[in-house]
Symmetry: C2
């Protein structure tokens, strides 16, 4: 995953054993050599095999450095060959090769296959907000590794927002000194991340949001604001008043110097200036700013923002970059090489394209809403005409409700579905197939080092205070965490509220529940279902002792009790199905009512276990032929189609 442009499987395989080795036969450079070293380490770990050289089983032939991402991978029983025009293509092909490794008849092996592959879109991004909650360099590094594994190629890195100024300015050190709690990236760290990303064929596009979302700028430099300070960084979420003053020449002088400093730090040709959600209270309350607007004939605050954007765009261009902004920057007079990133929707993006602007879609790819992978997978960036102006899309991870500990499980594996949408041919869109491969790639990402799976176990142990926590895990696997839209109303969150409770440990999408749903549809009497239902029914009794003296467990007892109820209802439904009896209509109605009640969001999670049980009830209600014997063959354990695992 993402599924390649063209795949032809064969028969046979090459072994991954201690004699396995990789040779570079064509063009080579440090980046390719380093990538080969990293891949060998990963394969060695994944297969438990120590490599001691030997005749190379995989040879890599590329023709030059470059960023062309296409590659060809040919695995035969006598060896594998990876060909690419450019090193970046070879990097993509190496990730494909690793995903091909499977346990076979004689240990690990790579099946015979021929792959020709190239991306559909050239911009396949992941945006990681580091202002709302601070993300140390290690978080960025492991997410870059994960991005590389699913062939994403742009890290969009917003470094300023109301809650934090996250980059060191040597020219204006007050920015990070007053704009963070000491949690910012030094310039050395920035250079390290840019190089780390570059090694993996990933570009880094920084964002400095202006003129709104600017509280952290003005905490140290109140003179930039449209109203007198003092200011301090925000601890809460929302849209805030502090806005840069677009009327003062000093603002642009400062931005010229600052953008110059940052442009030198980030080699990418694009430079993101945000431009979203400008709150115009300060502008409206200032007689001076209103006078300036009148003098220039600006009718609305948006006109004033457009003036600001056009001034900034000239500065950005002066420092050798093309500007990117969110939808709101679109206005008459905007430079034609500006790229529009759309959070508003495909229509907004299509409008921009019609006006000649290049665009990137983020609408529908907001990971912080914690929607199912299938939701994101269904969103396509192109809207018909002007398709060539659509560069691609970006998954966005806003950080109001994630910490360094939980962010991985909010990004992965769902972002891999977006990565596939952006890389693979548009015709690749079967949802079941996607989920099977997502389940596989989730584990690949674990082996790569991203912590979405490890953190789940760790956080549950922490919640349980280090006691054996299996029943909490059972409960957490039967719920799905809810996103920003639910959480912002659920309780008063600020950046100081710990993100260590059950809804933080729970995952956005339960792999187990999906498997049970599939099973309930295809084979409702399979052993898996019976086992799960009995486990749920009995689980509450096992959780109770953990709640003693532990408020974080106690608060989830109502959900746990509901899970027991759902398990019991499911077992009843199963009994009807197994005996071929049709349940009384009153019973069916009552269970539907109970399940509807139970399925309402509670404590920022939804009890996903309701879904397969609802299917069982409907199956029981509509069953006319008796199923006399239980089907003991499992189907939920074979969801991944082999031998093509990606």
């Amino acid at each position: 995953m993402p599924w390649p442009a063209s795949v032809n499987p064969g028969t046979g395989a090459i072994a991954i054993d201690s004699g396995f080795n990789i040779a570079i036969t064509g063009y080579s450079d440090k980046r390719l050599e380093a990538a080969v070293g990293r891949i060998l380490t990963r394969i060695s770990r994944q297969t438990g095999t120590q490599f001691i050289g030997g005749k190379p089983a995989l040879s890599i032939e590329c023709h030059g450095a470059g960023e062309n991402e296409s590659y060809q991978l040919d695995v035969t029983t006598t060896g594998a060959k990876l060909s690419a025009d450019a090193v970046t293509g070879a990097l993509r092909g190496l990730e494909t090769f690793v995903q091909l490794i499977v346990p076979g008849e004689n240990g690990f092996e790579v099946p015979v296959i021929h792959i020709e592959d190239h991306p559909r879109f050239s911009w396949r991004g992941l945006m990681i907000d580091v202002s709302r909650h601070w993300m140390p360099v290690a978080v960025i590094e492991r997410n870059l590794d994960a991005m590389a594994a699913v062939k994403m190629n742009v890290l969009h890195w917003p470094l300023t927002d109301d809650q934090g100024f996250r980059v060191e300015s040597k020219l204006f050190p007050r920015l990070q000194q007053f704009g963070s709690d000491g949690d910012f990236y030094t310039q050395d760290e920035i250079r390290h991340v840019v190089a780390y990303a570059g090694d993996r064929g990933i570009r880094v596009v920084p964002e400095f949001d202006m003129p709104g979302h600017a509280t952290s700028w003005v905490a140290g430099m109140p003179e930039l604001a449209s109203a007198p300070g003092p200011y301090k960084i925000e601890r809460t979420w929302g849209i805030f008043e502090p806005t840069m003053d677009p009327t003062r020449e000093e603002t642009y002088k400062f931005l010229d110097a600052f953008i110059g400093e940052m442009a030198a730090l980030f080699p990418d040709p694009f430079f993101h200036i945000g431009g979203d959600e400008v709150e115009d209270t300060q502008w409206k309350q200032s007689a001076r700013i209103q006078g300036f607007a009148k003098e220039h004939g600006f009718k609305t605050s948006h006109d004033l923002q457009s003036y600001f954007n056009q001034r900034v765009e000239k500065i950005v261009k002066k420092h050798g970059k093309s500007m990117i902004g969110w939808d709101e920057v679109l206005a008459p007079g905007l430079a034609s090489d500006t790229v529009i990133q759309s959070w508003r929707g495909q229509q907004s993006l299509a409008d921009a394209a019609r006006k000649g602007y290049r665009g990137i879609l983020s609408f529908g790819y907001y990971l912080d809403h914690l929607k199912p992978a299938a939701f994101h997978y269904a969103i396509d960036p192109t809207g018909g005409e002007n398709a060539s102006r659509i560069l691609g899309g970006e998954a966005c991870m806003w950080a109001e409700y994630v910490s360094a500990e939980t962010i991985d499980s909010r990004i992965w594996p769902r972002a891999a579905a977006i990565a596939e949408r952006l890389w693979s041919p548009a015709s690749v869109k079967d949802v079941d197939s996607m989920y099977n491969r997502l389940s596989w790639v989730s584990r690949v990402l674990d082996w790569v080092g991203v912590e979405h799976r490890a953190n789940f176990y760790r956080m549950i142990d922490e919640l349980a205070g280090g006691k054996p926590s299996e029943p909490v895990r059972v409960l957490a696997s039967s719920v799905e965490a809810l996103g920003i839209e639910t959480r912002r109303d659920a309780r008063k969150y600020t950046s100081l509220v710990p993100l260590n409770r059950f809804p933080d440990a729970a995952r956005p999408e339960s792999e187990q529940i999906r498997a049970l749903e599939q099973c309930a549809l295809k084979s409702p009497t399979a052993e898996d279902i019976h086992i799960a239902l009995a486990e749920w029914r009995d689980n509450h009794a096992l959780i109770l002792p953990l709640a003693a003296g532990n408020s974080m467990i106690r608060e989830i007892l109502p959900i746990s009790e509901n899970l027991s109820t759902v398990g019991a209802i499911g077992l009843q439904a199963l009994k009807y199905i197994q005996t071929g009896q049709t349940p009384p209509a009153s019973w069916v109605a009552e269970q539907r009512r109970i399940l509807n009640e139970i399925e309402k969001p509670k404590f920022e999670v939804v009890l996903a276990a309701v879904r397969p049980v609802r299917l069982l009830i409907e199956a029981a209600a509509h069953t006319s032929t008796a199923m006399k014997s239980r089907d003991v063959r499992s189907v939920t354990n074979v969801p991944v189609t082999r031998p093509q695992p990606f």
Copy 2:
């Protein structure tokens, strides 16, 4: 864990919230400051809390740098104070503080407590073999973090053995060039590890095994051997012939230069020369060496080794170090400040002490035998008289059957039981209490970053080829991996055989099985037991689909089938117990026979699930009073006594 010398719990607690902070009020240095930073990061992660300063809830007062390990920790409802004579003591106290954090009535908190603590032994070591299988720096780092968490203070680091020469010599680069597959620590890496350990209050004692176990030395420098080469490094396990020539002055000239180079790299006052298991074939076959022996009046090869040792001891001393060697170095004429490390036994150590030598016990602490923690816990280093000469003990992790991926689960958590034996008062020896705390500390170590728990899940996913692997996890949790004594006879292992199979994923001791045993003894009709038995009975059907085309799953099917059998037998026994019926003697005899058969080691693991089921059969066989109702209260989920978690 380890349990402190003196503990007085109180009532109440201090909160760990965003205002939590640590202040250094007395002596301070970079080491203490760095430790405080690390601890804050760990607490922040464990509790999901972002710290933004505030009135310090914990103040640290120590009087100077130094290595005194005692400390005092006083937690009251208004704050906590950690006092220590020296920085090292403060480091130990900080680890205690972190272990005190529990989820309470209002989030995470530290209960009121007064602790006075100091170690029983001054040498509490862990030896990590890096020759049989290569261990990258990251493995050493995370194990140092874990050692610090359980207050171990010596990393014993054997850097040479027949299978690998693991350190860079700048004077004699042929050593690592021909003595490794490129897998060795550079001198910069050595310095990094020594500093990393020192930051955590851990000394690093290197070992250079001589004159035996010397194949990797002579691979690059055959002139050191007692017979002409050429040699290459060993890929198999055992004791090999290549032995240094003790008769040539060139040998000592080389050792003088080499030891000088290494002595400068390792600041510790001790220097380990191995000296174990000298194979004398080369000596016996050399007329020249036999002539030399005769000339000097040596009667045995051991006399010749003693001569060698005494020459080496003078070199070691010349470079400012005291020598350590294994039992075999003990012989008349050995310098009195030599330290004897005993792998042979407490008697051997007592002999050495009687002769005036200081000693370290490793017999009984060999982790690679994969014995239960209780076995190691029962071994005490002191043998009565001359107790003052016993410095302490060392857990030894030999690496024939571990890789960088599996080593953590072979060391942890069992080494924590040894750490407690060496730190805590001799009177702390209750095994049940130890296991309860071991279960807790296993999770603490996970949070510290050691991978014994994460790797378990990861390896099982790898075995299952990335498919949902829950049934394999159930099976793996019901078995225990066997150690070197079983594995060396089970199949032909070399350093090139991957360590990626089921016995590598399985853990040496099953926490779940121990909990079920406890439960079977105290409350055989508890819900937990019924659930586990039913899960085992049904598990085989769920594993079967995973075995298709996967030899590594297929080979464990017989064990899986046995687990189903054990589950079914247990459920039968439970039925007898629940109904108060006494089973027929023939039934009991037959089940005992079946379980005895099933419990025999198979595929390098033992089916530990047999143990609780055997208890159930005995309970059924001897039950006279009927237990009419099932006891639904769980006992296995509350094994950890609170509020003292360590």
